[in-house]
Amino acid sequence: FDEIIVDIATKRKQYPRKILECVIKTIKAKQE
């Protein structure tokens, strides 16, 4: 349980930024 918490918390910290980077890339590619 503890590991899951840490895993999820770490993902919650890192993933939003990663997802945003991917979204930005996608949108730029689409615009181009």
Binding site: R12, Y15, P16, R17, I19, L20, V23, I24, I27
Partner: protein
């Protein structure tokens, strides 16, 4: 305010003090009563060594944990974040447990920037198109004017051509 690192050290010290106080020499000798009656000085030394060793070991462990987790830096960083946010009275945002929902606010700044950029582009393009439209209308008027002039000259020459034919007819007569 006291830093978290200092607070941690204080708490551990307090814990140790109370633990040692609980395991007093009196209690130690009560438990090892017969040995104490046999060897009082040795008992005293053993007890002192027990206390020192326990404290040293525990403090060393705390230092090790601090180093391992880079705890001091982390706690100092937390102190700083708390200090910076101390004026914020209301309960701060917390993850809702639904990633999609929380993600909206993370993406919003970029999308807002997108929207603003697009708005500026559209306005710029609209202004440019307005100028172009004005130029097109002006151009149309010029074309119409030129057409009118050409038509007028053409009609003039056609009129001339009729009179030419009329002249020929007269001359032929």
């Amino acid at each position: 305010t006291i830093s978290r690192v200092k607070l941690l050290d204080t708490m551990v010290d307090t814990f140790l003090q109370k633990l040692v106080a609980a395991g007093s020499y009196q209690r130690f000798t009560d438990c090892y009563k017969r040995f104490y009656q046999l060897q009082p000085e040795v008992t005293q030394r053993i007890y002192d060594k027990f206390v020192t060793q326990l404290q040293t070991s525990i403090r060393e462990e705390v230092s090790e944990i601090k180093e391992e987790g880079n705890l001091e830096a982390v706690l100092n960083a937390l102190d700083k974040i708390v200090e910076e946010g101390k004026d914020h009275r209301e309960p701060a945002w917390r993850p809702s447990g639904i990633p999609e929902r929380d993600l909206c606010s993370v993406m919003a700044p970029y999308f807002l920037q997108q929207r603003n950029t697009l708005q500026r582009r559209v306005q710029k393009q609209e202004a440019e198109n307005q100028q172009l439209a004005d130029a097109v209308l002006a151009g149309r008027r010029q074309v119409e004017e030129l057409q009118r002039q050409v038509q007028a000259r053409q009609q003039a020459w056609q009129g001339l051509h009729r009179e030419q034919r009329e002249l020929l007819a007269v001359l032929r007569e």
